[in-house]
Amino acid sequence: MDIQFSTEEQRFREECRDWLHANVPADKRPMDAADAIGFDKAWQRRLFDAGWAGINWPSQYGGRGLSIVQQVIWLEEYARAHAPWIGANFVGVNHGGPTLIINASEAQKEYHLPRILKGEAIWCQGFSEPGAGSDLAGIKTRGRVEGNELVINGSKIWTSFAHVADWQELVLRTEEGSQRHRGLSWVICDMHAPGIEIRPIRKISGQIEFAQVFYDDVRIPLENVVGGLGNGWKVAMSTLSFERGTGFIADQVKQSQEIEELIDRARATGAINDDRIAEALMQMRAEVAALRAMTYRNISEVVRNGQPGPEASVIRLFTAELGQRLDRMGLLLAGDDILDFRYGDDNHIADYLRGFAGTIAGGSSQIQRDIIAERVLGLPKSR
């Protein structure tokens, strides 16, 4: 065991740092998805042109074909350089793309992966429904096979970037009368297809970033099914473990900067002389260090065994809850300034309000605890 990076990895880190230093945009990313889309696409294109998109994606699809450790180094330097959140490209780059790499046909990969990396195609996720949140297997949106098409009816919700997306990773019921995890399919849905209606939803932070999507006889070619009809649950689960393990490294590095900024601010204002605040800051500084250690352990596991260990789900839960405590501390140090918050402000109060999603989106913390209890500790399944 060691925490040293190889000479090659250190050189790669220097390269990342130099490029980011010279290229991170000076202007701030706009807040609402509709305003930010141009910014996000242009930035992703610049990353791609310079060779920084898809660092560990296969090179035949536009990636660099490098190691996961180099991907981690890039993400660490990316956050350290205060580079902008990848925003609308998040689902394609962090979720849709990796799912396609594992499960899609050659033709699907050849078409979609380069477009994701170049920022030409924006993806959104279509998993949750009004009646299927934590109980994801309760999906009711259905796709009827007609000739070589799927005819889709139903609704998805909490779909981030739906109103600016080109494609959707859509999980729906393709076998009539099927129950729970069976009879589902993972489909690439064209968001510009006739019959799709999108109703944006405003968040408690004031942002308009997610939406409800309605499907009224939407026709999608059968060739857009990924991993075969009826295998949707398996396809969806193949990337959840990825998401739990390495999908949040940028967030974690951001947290390591946040804690330093909070400590600096607490020193500047004298708040650090309050024992409760000093204690909380100490706690979080130790935890941020442990989170990095846990992530390195997880990455090491991937390098050694090809997949994250069962404890990857611990990282997901811990990152989300630690993030919220950091946001809460930011608020505490801000004092009564928070009362002047207005929709459209993009500051630590917006961060705090946005941060509630951390323990809800992509599997609530309650579901994560069930997963840890059942899969890591072997307690009896209750669902």
Binding site: M1, Q4, R285, A290, R297, V314, L317, Q366, D370, L379
Partner: protein, 301 residues
């Protein structure tokens, strides 16, 4: 960068676990056989990082977490530190000063058979000679004989400041082991204890207590291994990482120790059952090389 054990470390770890299971089960923590110390010395655990042994702190931390999981004698920590930094081989008792200066009350754990005790004095690891007939009776922690010397005799500080970090690291490893033990004990009980005609581990209220125990143990273990590697690498932040490891390990041991009693219900309240052994050990370990807030906050170098 690699924070997973290699195949040799894996083998050593599973051999340690097997040996502990057969010879030093947690269930017998309050009545250890007098011959146990000779066996521990024979296994080489009292001097893993002693000069000439060629093992690193990462390997040692892995093994000590496993030993700690079986509530191994606390004197192993002081013995390992003494063997590494003072050349004092064999059994060295663990010394706790009630103030950070000599002259106050001295508590000594695992004194029988030890000529010296090692503890922290003014932030440095230090040794003191013990009276030959020092014995002891169990205190809060029922697993180790505790003796008092009042006032404390003079100590001789070990020159290298890394000895204190070593003491902090190994006590963090022991605490991490306690957190692991409490987590596993609670999870096993939740699988077999039935109420409302099903195992109590079926209920989310119990599941989430156990999941939080798993989170705390994983957090503590990860930081422990990172800190051990930092110490091995001579990293400038090693002091911060070891202090953080100790802080999180103590917290995990206490919180898991408490949760384990709650999961066991009435049984957890009994002297006969084992959960209280973990909690009491956890409380003792918080007094061994406690982390300083200034170090974790980055105020002190």
């Amino acid at each position: 960068m690699d924070l997973t054990p290699n195949s040799e470390q894996e083998a050593l770890l599973s051999a340690t676990a097997d040996w502990c299971h057969d010879n030093m089960p947690l269930e017998q923590a309050r009545s250890r056989h007098p011959a146990l110390w000779n066996q521990l010395a024979d296994m080489g655990w009292l001097g893993m990082t002693a000069p000439g042994m060629d093992l690193d702190h990462a390997t040692e931390a892995l093994v000590f977490a496993e030993l700690g999981r079986h509530l191994a004698p606390v004197g192993m920590i002081s013995s390992a530190v003494a063997a590494r930094w003072s050349g004092h081989q064999g059994k060295t008792a663990l010394a706790l000063l009630d103030r950070d200066l000599t002259g106050g009350l001295l508590r000594v754990y695992d004194a029988p058979g030890a000529t010296h005790a090692l503890g922290l004095v003014g932030g440095l690891a230090a040794l003191t000679a013990l009276p030959s007939d020092l014995g002891g009776e169990p205190g809060l922690d029922l697993s180790a004989p505790l003796a008092h010397i009042d006032p404390a005799p003079p100590f001789t500080a070990l020159g290298d400041p890394r000895a204190a970090l070593h003491l902090q690291l190994l006590s963090a490893a022991f605490a991490t082991g306690v957190a692991d033990a409490a987590r596993d004990m609670a999870a096993e009980y939740a699988k077999i204890r039935e109420q409302f005609e099903r195992p109590i581990g079926w209920f989310q209220a119990l599941k989430h207590i156990c999941a939080d125990m798993a989170v705390r143990a994983a957090v503590a273990k990860s930081q422990l291994l990172y800190a051990a590697c930092a110490l091995d690498a001579g990293d400038a932040d090693a002091g911060f990482h070891v202090a953080s490891a100790k802080h999180l390990a103590d917290q995990a041991a206490i919180d898991n120790g408490r949760a384990n009693i709650q999961v066991h219900g009435g049984i957890g309240m009994t002297d006969e059952a084992y959960p209280h052994l973990c909690l009491k050990r956890a409380h003792l370990l918080t007094f061994v090389a406690p982390p300083e807030r200034a170090v974790i906050l980055g105020e002190a170098a």
